[in-house]
Amino acid sequence: MALLELNQVGKAFGSEGTETMALDGIDLSLEQGGFLAVVGPSGCGKSTLLQIAAGLMRADRGTVKLSGEPVTSPPPHVVYVFQQYSKSLFPWRTVLANVEFALEGRSGIGRTERRDRSRSLLELVDLQDFAGHYPWQLSGGMQQRVAIARALAADARLLLMDEPFSALDALTRLDLQKLLLDLWATRNLSILFVTHDVDEAVYLADWVAVLTHRPARVHEIIDVALPRPRDPITTREQDRFLKLRHDLLSQLMKRKNSHA
């Protein structure tokens, strides 16, 4: 059984009569421990798809199942990581308190344990020296690290990532991609990763789903089949990487032009 299963998911926006279809019969599934990237032209409804998967938005049609159970509200152990890191952190809380937020209100975790766990997670994302800082005192890459540490604190099994690195500069992005792959491998995470960056999708994922322009459908799903562990430099030089990148980009650009 797949961990996450989207079946014929459809969603329209706007009032009756002037509706625009955002998603039209999306079928996707993610295995336990899998890494699925979703690419598509901007504005094709990728975020909508992810929010439906997170239980933050209801689909008009179709079903979303997590471990076989229908998703109707945000399920535990599924954490959404937003592109707008500066808006998803609590500016009145320190970095440490932001991470602790995910552990508060959980029975059986005392104050000291909460603090200790959060500290060790900050260490994991290399922010142990910034525990007492406030998010707005950190760079964008560091803020997104805090968001990732907080997701881990929530004991995330499934990460739903909405273009999490697209607002970062190129080097920081490579850094965070590497961090994410490390965490994914060591902590038995499953990841659904939405991006418009083909390079990023191929580099990170096992599978890349290509969406069509609005209304979004799954055009095809590509098996990346690049060896792991992946290297930020050499993986991108492999023939297979270049070929996949070429195919995906030409597909997306063709679609874009036909709609421009």
């Binding site: 997170a54 945000p74 599924v78 959404y80 707008q84 500066s86 808006k87 500016p91 009145w92 209100g105």
Partner: protein
């Protein structure tokens, strides 16, 4: 410190010139001394009031009414404002009522409140609470409705229930608006405390002002008005300092 003084200096000069102008106008008979005593005379009365320990009683009476009324009004307004901001149905239910009651100058409600609650503290505290309630409510609703959905969705996927969401996310995120409402409302609260004391009962600064006026003790009347001005000023300073502490994250976070 020096910069602070430099900023303050021009305003102090204007104030000093104004006082000096009134003083001279009174001394030269341009203004009737019986209507507007010289500032130096008022100063002497103030000195006597403080020296005889006559300030603390009425002042604490008025401040207690203001404080209790403010606490009740603000607390109710924040709770209701957060709920209305978060649940659209609750907003739809109460918004027309609020919009209808809000424009009534709350001073106009003191006479009917006297009918229901008499002339004692219950009426005065209720008057203050009513005056405080609406600005805080409106601001809290506005703040709560404006919280970034990214922040709310983040908290929800981290497994936060409605009550915790309101308390730990929406309340602090609305704090800038709530603080603005509170600063607005403390001035209104003071007005209502004084007016309700003027209309009914005996005691408090409001009562003294009208009592001195009726007794033609004009210098005393002005002295109490000066005390009120200082109280209003200090309350505002207090709130500004408290606000800067509570909202330390706000302006800096906005810039980035």
């Amino acid at each position: 410190m020096r910069r602070w003084l430099a900023q303050l200096a021009p305003g102090v000069v204007v104030l000093a010139l104004l006082l000096w102008g009134i003083e001279e106008a009174v001394n030269y008979g341009l203004v009737k001394r019986s209507l507007m005593p010289a500032p130096s005379d008022i100063g002497l009365v103030l000195w006597d009031l403080f020296a005889d320990g006559e300030v603390a009683g009425p002042l604490s009476e008025t401040l207690a009414r203001l404080g209790i009324g403010f606490a009740i009004g603000a607390a109710l307004a924040i709770v209701m404002g957060l709920a209305m901001g978060y649940w659209p149905r609750l907003y739809a239910l109460f918004e027309p009522l609020v919009e209808l009651l809000r424009p009534i100058p709350k001073a106009a409600l003191v006479p009917p409140l006297v009918l229901f609650l008499g002339v004692d503290n219950a009426m005065k505290i209720t008057s203050v609470a009513l005056a405080v309630f609406f600005p805080v409510l409106i601001n809290t609703v506005q703040g709560a409705r404006g919280v970034d959905p990214v922040l709310i969705n983040t908290a929800r996927t981290l497994g936060v229930g409605s009550f915790s969401l309101l308390r730990k996310v929406i309340l602090p995120a609305s704090a800038p608006f709530i603080c603005a409402g509170i600063r607005l409302s403390i001035a209104l609260g003071l007005i209502l405390a004084v007016i309700s004391e003027m209309i009914a009962g005996t005691g408090g600064i409001g009562f003294l002002i009208i009592d001195m006026q009726r007794a033609f003790r004009i210098r005393q009347m002005y002295a109490w008005i000066v005390i009120l001005a200082v109280v209003g000023y200090l309350l505002n300073v207090l709130l500004v300092v408290a606000e800067q502490r509570i909202l330390f994250w706000y302006r800096t976070a906005q810039r980035t």
